[in-house]
Amino acid sequence: MAERILAIFDSADEAQAAARALQRGGLPRTAITIMSSEPAHTSTADSAGQSNSHIGTVAIFGGVIGASAAVLLTVLTSRRVDLVTGGMPIVTPWAFGIIAFELTALGAILAMLSRMIFEAGLARRGALSDYDEAVADGRVVVSLQCEDDSHRDIAEKVLGSNRKLDPPAQNAPTLNESTDFRRS
């Protein structure tokens, strides 16, 4: 039966060592999630699939869409009004180019943001189901998705006393209830 296990560590090094041990024990890397309060610049990043991002490509694509929208907006609108301009061109690349530049940037920004939210798995219902607020206190949480008993046995062996079986409900007091904040 699938089961989620959380383990809480004091440092990123310990958490990453545990993740490597779990992998050596046979757990797939995709079943292990490490959560921390600051970026973990480690060699485990690539194996977690971080290198397959298309944020840059999508930003370029968004820029092309923005530029196309700018050209269509300016050219079609100006032509439709068909104002008499005393021999000057109605469609002028110099002036319209400035608008195209701005909308290119706007398209790139919006596309990048959308892609980032999608790739990072943000704004999804139930995103915090395997989260522990110990992260807020600077601790590092390892979340395991155990598909069968063998995975659970490996987890018990590797994680030892750091293991925490039931992820807390999101409104429950945190593990390390901090006394330095009162906002409620």
Binding site: S37, A48, I55, G56, A59, M116, D180, S184
Partner: protein, 453 residues
């Protein structure tokens, strides 16, 4: 000497303190700024009820304090996004405690600057008529007008700056979510988008911030260039200049850095963040301010030398009005405030302290406001045909509105610091990890000059 990393609890407690217990300084700041904003709101209501005639503008000076404020605040907005993006792209590690201070300035300064063309319409409730889209009102959307370019540039920059502020804020919003209860928890939870801090999320966030930093730099440059083209695209004396774009951008970065230094000094003092906003940050920004002071003076000298050497009558009329005429006190005041005092002050390490850089920055802000006024009003007061020359004297309504912009900016900034951490908590923590990975490099968290206050 290597700095010792404070505990996570201490960093959280210190950097979330402004959100938690802002202190008496914050309440005093908010009270004063609210009073100034109320006075400006009263002046604005009076203007709406009586019309634009309550301003001092008249033929031939149709742009005055309102457009001065527009240009000034758009310039100030270059403090944040541009400076922050440049520091990120160049990998300047000392940026960490100052980026959010800077990015927030951009958003609020842009909001204030963008208000003025709308207020100047006289009937601002019809502002949407300016939006250039195909419509049924028989209005021709003139995409060749620099004012239409302004609309696109400022909208893009404002939206981009909000996103650029928001992206690195997400992990801190999650931190606040975890530390809050009740409605605040729901508020921060919604804004943090379910952030958990997984490796994948950190990777994607850092990629997105890098892309944003690269995209936003040319946008920021384009915004103030386009604002300069509002003037340079006309054939008015001392406006029709090819160097107006870079001249405006340099002035914008100059005033933006000054605004950032002042904001940092105030935040540091009010929230007791002396351990985070250190002398090294003021020293480094002071060096940037010095560089921009020299660049600004170079552009100003080039601009006026060209007008003087050309000796064209229309240009010379404006030139003389600034050098020795009615506007000369403001002109020489600008030179003193932007170059004569700040440059020598910042050139000496001894004076590049927190106090020294803050004094220099205050002068630069005053000087740059004068400079914006001097670009606009003397040229309008001296059209090429001399029979049409005029003058301008601001009324209490315009002056109150101008004061109101400063009050409004301070108020927005103060509210921001009450809701969000003004120093990026995760970026600050990451700085120590970066330092640990680069043991061979000198410590970035140690002050290189003595504290000046």
């Amino acid at each position: 000497m290597r700095s010792i990393r404070p505990t996570n609890a201490k960093i959280n407690a210190d950097l979330l303190r402004p959100v938690n217990k802002p202190g008496r300084g914050w309440y005093a700041t908010v009270t004063v700024s609210v009073l100034v904003v109320l006075a400006a709101a009263g002046a604005l209501t009076y203007q709406f009820s009586r019309g634009l005639g309550v301003w001092g503008i008249n033929r031939p000076v149709f742009w005055a304090l309102d457009i001065t404020n527009f240009v000034f605040w758009i310039g100030i907005s270059h403090a944040g996004t541009l400076i922050s993006a440049i520091l990120r792209v160049t990998g300047a590690e000392w940026r960490r405690p100052i980026t959010r201070c800077a990015e927030a300035i951009t958003v609020f300064a842009l909001m204030i600057g963008a208000m003025f063309p709308i207020i100047h319409l006289g009937r601002p409730w019809f502002f949407y008529w300016l939006v250039p889209y195909p419509n049924e009102r028989g209005l021709w959307p003139n995409f060749r007008s620099p004012l239409a370019w302004d609309f696109f540039a400022i909208s893009t920059y404002l939206l981009g700056s909000i996103i650029y502020l928001y992206l690195p804020l997400i992990p801190d919003l999650a931190l606040l979510r975890d530390k809050s209860r009740g409605l605040w928890r729901r508020f921060y939870g919604t804004l943090s988008l379910g952030w958990r801090g997984t490796e994948l999320q950190w990777d994607r966030l850092e990629r997105a911030v890098r892309v944003m930093a690269v995209v936003i730099i040319p946008v920021a440059v384009s915004v103030h260039t386009i604002v300069s083209w509002d003037f340079a695209m006309t054939i008015r004396p001392m406006w029709h200049s090819t160097m107006f774009g870079p001249y405006f951008v340099a002035g914008a970065i100059f005033s933006g850095i000054a605004a950032l230094i002042i904001a940092m000094a105030v935040v540091r003092r009010v929230f007791h963040l002396e351990d985070y906003l250190r002398a090294i940050h003021f020293n480094n920004l002071g060096l940037l301010l010095l560089t921009m002071s020299l660049i600004w003076f170079y552009f100003t000298f080039g601009e006026y030398l060209t007008a003087w050497y050309g000796n064209e009558p229309g240009e010379m009329a404006v030139f003389r009005s600034k050098m020795s005429g009615a506007f000369s006190p403001l002109f020489w005041g600008t030179i003193v405030c932007c170059f004569a005092v700040p440059a020598p002050l910042l050139a000496f390490k001894r004076f590049r302290t927190i106090k020294g850089t803050t004094i220099a920055s205050a002068l630069v802000i005053i000087g740059m406001w004068f400079e914006r006024f001097l670009i606009i009003v003397p040229t309008l007061a001296h059209p090429k045909l001399t029979f049409n020359w005029g003058t301008y004297r601001p009324t209490w309504v315009e002056m109150t509105l101008t004061a109101g912009t400063f009050g409004y900016f301070v108020l927005l900034y103060a509210i921001f610091t009450r809701i969000f951490p003004i120093i990026a908590v995760w970026e600050y923590k990451e700085g120590f990890s970066w330092q640990a990975e680069h043991e061979d490099l000198p410590s970035l968290n140690e002050p290189v000059v003595a504290s000046g206050d």
